[in-house]
């Protein structure tokens, strides 16, 4: 599923525009599986699946597989419907240098929501 991220995100011109100043690589951790996702000028240009030896990334988003699954459901229930809802209830950890994440928060909320399943 994570593999669909580039296609879905890059096909959304408004999202790409929102992220037009981003140049970062972040780690997406879904339970015990990891992905390194490279964003440049608002486009997802590379996705690599772990496991990794000495991965380099700027910030990491880590949650359990069950919590991401609830977040990516078509109509998430309260508390699972937004990245900050996950953060609030300590289900999502944001680690590292999160400057790009916070400065482009609408982009990253939109990006992660691209993996939401359709009803």
């Amino acid at each position: 599923m994570i593999g669909q991220l580039a296609e879905r995100a890059n096909a959304d011109p408004l999202l790409v525009h929102r992220g037009r100043f981003i140049d970062t690589r972040f780690l997406l951790s879904v339970g015990d599986r990891d992905w390194l996702i490279r964003i440049l000028d608002g486009r997802v240009i590379d996705i690599a699946e772990g496991p990794f030896v000495m991965p380099r990334y700027t910030f990491a988003l880590r949650a359990s597989a069950a919590d991401w699954d609830a977040f990516w459901s078509p109509a998430p229930r309260p508390g699972y419907h937004d990245l900050f809802a996950l953060i609030r209830f300590k289900r999502l950890a944001v680690e590292g240098d999160m400057h790009s994440f916070m400065a482009n928060l609408f982009y990253f909320k939109g990006l992660l929501a691209k993996l939401r399943r359709t009803a």
Partner: protein
């Protein structure tokens, strides 16, 4: 195209002294009857109450008044503001502003309705000034919220102030229309630098009223609490806990599909729950 029309809302500037300084506050009002003073959320302004001010059923019975807090919306900061390193709202100042505005406008025991920080201050008002208010209505109202993110991100020159809007975007529930969702977020995008952060000082640090909720006397000042189920800032559990702590039969209404800004994100949904509360206040 639809025909142009003026809404029944009238906006004026009120000059008054608050906290020892001259202020120029922007005040909107509509309707006649019992004064209903409306308080906006942190980092936003009184436009959040546009639908309540435009509702003929409410304005036929209430004089609805919504003002922009100092530093918010069209209310300027007081002269000399540029000499303060950071704006910060305290519980004492917030109480003085609301009671000061009510007094300056000559309101006779208004009902005060506030959301979020406004929902918190109405609990302080019910506790400290029970005879000055006919009743208080707390939207997204709880005794305290622990910080769950670093609010430094809300005010720094290398992060655009639009972040305030992005932080709160998920607080809006799925029942909101796109138009109301993005209107609500636009207000946040227009907040002055550091103002949302400064309001959160009251919300997350200075305004904790949990230990004193049991001292509120609802026979002198009735308390009504309404909270949207998708709010993760003031959660339904926070509101239910506040209702239990106030006791004396205080009820909390949890509103399905709604989030943290019910009057702005889903006004019709809110009004379905609010009308019976207003009926009780009027004495129907």
């Amino acid at each position: 195209m639809s025909e142009a029309l003026f809404e029944p809302i009238v906006g004026r500037y009120l000059r008054l002294d608050l906290l020892g300084k001259s202020h120029r506050l922007y005040v909107e009002e509509a309707g006649q009857g019992i004064p209903l003073l409306c308080l906006h959320t942190a980092g936003s302004d009184a436009r959040q109450y546009r639908a309540i001010l435009n509702d003929p059923d409410v304005t036929s019975r209430f004089r609805v008044i919504a003002f922009d807090l100092p530093w918010h919306g069209k209310s300027s900061p007081p002269e000399g503001w540029h000499l303060e390193p950071e704006y910060r709202l305290t519980a004492a100042d917030y109480r003085a502003i609301v009671t000061g505005v009510a007094q300056a406008m000559g309101l006779d025991r208004p009902v005060v309705m506030g959301c979020s920080i406004g929902g918190r201050i109405v609990l302080h008002l019910a506790l400290e000034h029970p005879d000055a208010f006919r009743a208080v209505i707390g939207l997204q109202s709880g005794g305290h919220v622990d910080p769950y993110y670093d609010t430094q991100w809300l005010y720094r020159p290398d992060v655009h102030g639009e972040v305030a809007s992005a932080v709160v975007s998920g607080l809006i529930g799925p029942s909101a229309t796109d138009a109301n969702r993005w209107e609500t977020l636009w207000h946040y995008m227009q907040g002055g630098p550091g103002i949302f952060k400064g309001d959160l000082y009251f919300y997350k640090v200075d305004g904790d009223i949990r230990p004193r909720l049991g001292e509120i006397d609802v026979t002198r000042c009735p308390v009504y609490l309404l909270t949207g189920e998708y709010d993760y800032s003031c959660t339904p559990e926070d509101t239910l806990a506040a209702a239990r702590a106030i006791g004396q039969g205080t009820q909390a209404i949890i509103m399905e599909g709604m989030g943290h800004f019910p009057m702005s994100e889903d006004p019709e949904g809110l009004l379905a729950h609010l009308r019976p509360v207003l009926d009780r206040i009027v004495g129907v």
